[in-house]
Symmetry: none
Subunit: 186 residues, 4 copies
Amino acid sequence: MPKVVDHDARRAEVLDQAYRLMADEGYGAATMRRIARAAGVSTGTLYHYFPDKPAILDGMFERLIGQDQARVTAAIPEAASPAERVRVLFAFLRDEAEHFRALLRLALEVHRHEPEEDSRARVQEAVAGYRAAVADVLDLDPALAHAAFSFIVGGLWQGIVDPRSVDLDRDEGIALGFVTLRADRS
Amino acid sequence: MPKVVDHDARRAEVLDQAYRLMADEGYGAATMRRIARAAGVSTGTLYHYFPDKPAILDGMFERLIGQDQARVTAAIPEAASPAERVRVLFAFLRDEAEHFRALLRLALEVHRHEPEEDSRARVQEAVAGYRAAVADVLDLDPALAHAAFSFIVGGLWQGIVDPRSVDLDRDEGIALGFVTLRADRS
Amino acid sequence: MPKVVDHDARRAEVLDQAYRLMADEGYGAATMRRIARAAGVSTGTLYHYFPDKPAILDGMFERLIGQDQARVTAAIPEAASPAERVRVLFAFLRDEAEHFRALLRLALEVHRHEPEEDSRARVQEAVAGYRAAVADVLDLDPALAHAAFSFIVGGLWQGIVDPRSVDLDRDEGIALGFVTLRADRS
Amino acid sequence: MPKVVDHDARRAEVLDQAYRLMADEGYGAATMRRIARAAGVSTGTLYHYFPDKPAILDGMFERLIGQDQARVTAAIPEAASPAERVRVLFAFLRDEAEHFRALLRLALEVHRHEPEEDSRARVQEAVAGYRAAVADVLDLDPALAHAAFSFIVGGLWQGIVDPRSVDLDRDEGIALGFVTLRADRS
DNA sequence: TATGAATGAGGCTTCATTCAT
DNA sequence: AATGAATGAAGCCTCATTCAT
């Protein structure tokens, strides 16, 4: 028997450290050497767990999405008024803003560095998943879900490049206004 | 002073080629050698015009913004109904979608590769400028301008990472709906 | 002692697979991992059988020679006319050309990768053995055996680097001519 | 103007050092770093002169062949008796044995490491060139040239793997015998 | 004995940047 | 001002070998 290690745990540690590096300093800064060092293994060992660097990016995304899906689902209240739903969504955004900003950036990096169609498809699915979660929380049809998701993503983006413009309370108010308007109209 | 003209023309050529490369293939793929070759100068000459690579990114951004501001202003009609204003905005977005997607990505790259506070401030100003233009076109107050700009940016972002989800007609319809609602309400 | 049988069988399997890999793709391409996988053992196990990679090359060569000596001997006819002897030799060369080309190359690899005097001596003995076999088949004295062996080896080498120049029928004719000449002269 | 260097001279120096390393220690030992160090340049500079490692091998071969062709031609006497021609050839072999042994090995390495058809074709041409030179010196028809070349190559090979078997005087005697025989027969 | 995870030096190559001309 | 040769650190990856189990 070889050295006993929890293969999955080590793999996860690598992916987590890769995420930390990429989120903090970008895809370019997350070199194989730095990922290895951060995960406490040698570069050679990295290749024991992943065939190449894209595979790490890929695995990282898969892991992130899986984790988020669980969290998002858990955060959805059983049943609630439209106003409460907006509140829940923004509470979540407030907590996870930095994480989602990192995700937003990383999704773009995948498009730069992942020629594989599979990886891009995974990102598309992930985006669709988050969008569906928003639709679910806010009880929106697909067209409005896309719009609402745009609103959120654009807010996150502005938070990166123009932080002083961010005001989640204001955004929540606007969202509430629209939801209320829709409710009134019907 | 013919030298100065020459100098500026060369500088502009470098920045244009840098934009072309970075927009098409990303900051990382736009190596100094490729930029130099594309601009028809030697690598050494590049360093006469820009102290380092981030400075090119920086200069490029500045140039782009200057050009866009003129174009955006020109595209704004003198006076129009709310519905017409939405139509004008989306016509512009349809024409320039790829350009704005590139800008969206490049703005993030500035944050990665430009440690200088000046450069980040320039991006912030640029974002504020585009936001103001949107506010101007749609006749919105600052809070709603931020929301509308988020909506646009988020749509562009989704266009990069999930192209199949894009539908500008649908988005225009939604925007029109909101504008109309606001008009009705008052 | 079933263990011993097992041990030898595994060892033989490793050497056979090593030969297959090295003959097909060269010493460099035959990595320890590939040899292990081909032989159906783990890399760790490989090191129970051989102290290092050169030792595999060495063992492989020893095994090949043992096998060949038997085959060569078997192929020698009891007694025959000079012309028949040439025919037998070339029939053998035709069948085994690829094998001997591999051997020719591998003998050089031993010189590159085996610092041990023993191994080089083994190659020398092997070469001497093949030369003696040729002498035996053709009934030549040592000096002419060396020449005849050179002729064969050189033909194999040309077959590797300049395949279009190969023509074993032509070579057989030349060999036949020399043998006949010698017979006539005496 | 850039730093003034004799581009061709530097290129030649790199190729010469590459040859020295490969001849002494084999293709595998001739790493880009070692070649660079031996040639007195940095690894980066190596890539200024050659796009990749195969290009060095390729260039090296081209250079070697060119040099040899000149030397071989120069060594051919204007007109001579068959016996004198043999003597000239063996004098040349005696002087250059080590060089030709290295060439013999390197030609095989090219086949291992050069997937490009061009490179293999160059080796074929080189072999054909040396063969033609032998034919020229000894005044042989193509079929016998191939045989004579085999004889020489095989002798060089035996000189590598079984040095104690080498005896150029003996080989010269045999060659002389054959040449004389041919002359007598006609 | 057998396994395969782990190592880390080293392979080829690229790149921003410098500097002699 | 302009050139492009030169640098060397660092990128991704492979490999023979070791070692805990």
